[in-house]
């Protein structure tokens, strides 16, 4: 074994261990982050805003409570209430934490997009260890946003 190789092998082992340790820690953090308690607000909010179309708000709570509101008419988001599977709410929160949604910018748009009157969709997720929100028009939304939006829409029954 050359001198060079004697140095490389321990470095490789250390790198693998460091990666494993980091990955395990990240998994642990993600697992520990559940949806906030209903008393603390909605775990997931899904909003249509901006552009020239009537806005709406869908709020999903950790216990499965769903509230929908039409801000154009009521000026508040509590017009109707329903219930969804709470485990699916938790699963969506977990997906948001782990899928890359958390890295999306909160407000990525600075100038009128191609169609300035197309609605934007905002998803806000609140967990016990932090919150994040991001908004895009459908035509400019990255894949990770579109996938989360589709799942939230399916669960709530309110399509974009």
């Amino acid at each position: 074994m050359s001198a060079r190789r004697r140095h490389i092998e321990p470095i490789g082992v250390a790198l693998v261990l460091a990666f494993w340790s980091h990955h395990a820690a990240a998994q642990s953090r993600a697992a520990a982050c559940g949806p906030v308690r209903p008393a603390d607000g909605a775990a997931i909010e899904y909003v249509r805003e901006g552009g020239n179309i009537r806005p709406f708000t869908v709020a999903l709570y950790a216990d499965g409570t769903m509230r929908t509101g039409d801000t154009s008419v009521t000026q508040s988001a509590a017009a109707a209430a329903a219930h969804v599977d709470s485990t699916r709410v938790a699963a969506l929160v977990h997906l948001a934490r782990t899928s890359g949604f958390w890295r999306l910018p909160a407000n990525p748009i600075h100038k009128p997009p191609r169609n300035p009157d197309a609605a934007r969709y905002r998803i806000s997720v609140r967990t016990t260890c932090g919150a994040h929100a991001s908004a895009y028009p459908l035509s400019a939304a990255p894949k990770v946003f579109r996938e989360l939006l589709a799942r939230v829409a399916t669960l709530s029954g309110v399509q974009p």
Partner: protein, 349 residues
């Protein structure tokens, strides 16, 4: 990522420690997120890396917003006004906004609208949409747009002139047919070629359709109307044409009407609901005709900032809801963003 160069004589433990430290520094930002922004109206940070290069929903023939944005004279340094909306150097319709209505349908879309196949002066349009277009200019409501200026600092004139209509029943779209921007521009071109329409660079050509005809492909799901621009050829010269896609909002009432009783009762609810999204497009075209003039830090134009908010409403004589009165007729229209004081949504100025 640390660079691990083979052959460098560092100990494994030092490398591992350095690597672990670096990983920690770059670890999941979500571990301590700092954006608990749950209110859609509050915004904080922006990402300069946003890439707008995704495929659009329209397939515009002339998708030049980006180029124009980048090329507008003082675009690089938006003029902050402290009113919540900024000027970015592009053109506005400073001397007044002219309007043309194109009713593109085999039969009349609105009650008392011009007969299919005819064209003429806007003053001859007896529909509720025509009434609105003939009276919105000079109103306290439209005066809100006079709080905006052009590149020379001249205020926009509170004027809307409904100069021409064309009830075009040729190749009119039907049902839920999708109509692309290219097809809309081609239709406008045919109007200029035939003399049914007169070209004017300060005119917004509003294209109305019937039923659930899907102008632009996203009607009722992504928007209820939109404004944009394209290129037509006039006398052999390419010209920019401003136009608005105005599908029949009452065709998708849950997404595209106020949900409130029509201001003019049973007179023509479809027209009553349409004028709300129509005025949104008129005021945005007036202050941001090319998408590079007046908008805020989130890319919202003046109309966007107040869309679907009504301010103080009242019950009209017809039993509907209204919030402005134009020469005796009530209408319900969204508020508009005032570019004065500290800004805000208002119904008059």
């Amino acid at each position: 990522m640390p660079r691990v160069t083979l052959g460098i004589r560092t100990t494994a433990s030092c490398s591992a420690a350095l690597f672990a430290l670096t990983l920690s520094a770059c670890s999941d930002k979500g571990a301590s997120p700092t954006q608990p922004s749950l209110s859609p109206s509050t915004s904080a940070s922006f990402d300069a890396n946003y890439n707008e290069n995704q495929s659009g929903e329209h397939g515009h023939v002339m998708h030049i917003r980006n180029e124009l944005n980048d090329g507008a004279s003082p675009a690089a340094a938006a003029r902050a006004s402290g009113t919540g909306i900024s000027y970015h150097g592009g053109p506005v319709l400073q001397s007044g906004t002219n309007m043309a209505a194109i009713y593109w349908a085999a039969s009349a879309i609105y009650k008392n609208a011009p007969a299919p196949g005819t064209s003429g002066a806007g003053s001859a349009d007896a529909s509720l949409v025509g009434y609105f277009l003939n009276h919105i200019g000079g109103s306290p409501y439209f005066n809100i747009n006079s709080s905006y200026t052009n590149s020379a600092g001249l205020h926009i004139v509170n004027s809307v002139s409904y100069t021409q209509y064309w009830a075009n029943n040729t190749s009119a779209p039907t049902g839920t047919q999708n109509v692309t921007d290219a097809q809309m521009i081609s239709m406008l071109q045919s109007g200029f070629n035939s003399g049914k329409l007169t070209y004017d660079p300060n005119t917004l050509y509003a294209i109305f359709t019937a039923g659930q005809v899907n102008l632009g492909g996203g009607f009722g799901t992504q928007y209820c109307a939109y404004h944009t621009h394209g290129t037509v050829t006039i006398g052999g010269v390419a010209k920019t044409v401003l136009y608005a896609a105005m599908p029949y909002n009452n065709g998708y009432p849950s997404a595209c009407t106020s949900g409130l009783a029509a201001a003019n009762g049973a007179a023509d609810p479809g027209a009553d609901y349409e004028v709300n999204t129509l005025v949104h497009e008129i005021e945005e075209t007036t202050t941001d005709m090319m998408g590079n003039a007046w908008y805020d830090s989130r890319g919202y134009e003046n109309g966007d900032k107040c869309a679907w908010t009504w301010g103080t409403t009242y019950t009209t004589a017809a039993g509907g809801k209204g919030n402005i009165n134009l020469a005796g007729k009530d209408f319900l229209v969204q508020q508009n963003w005032l570019n004065a004081g500290s800004g805000g949504c208002f119904l008059k100025y």
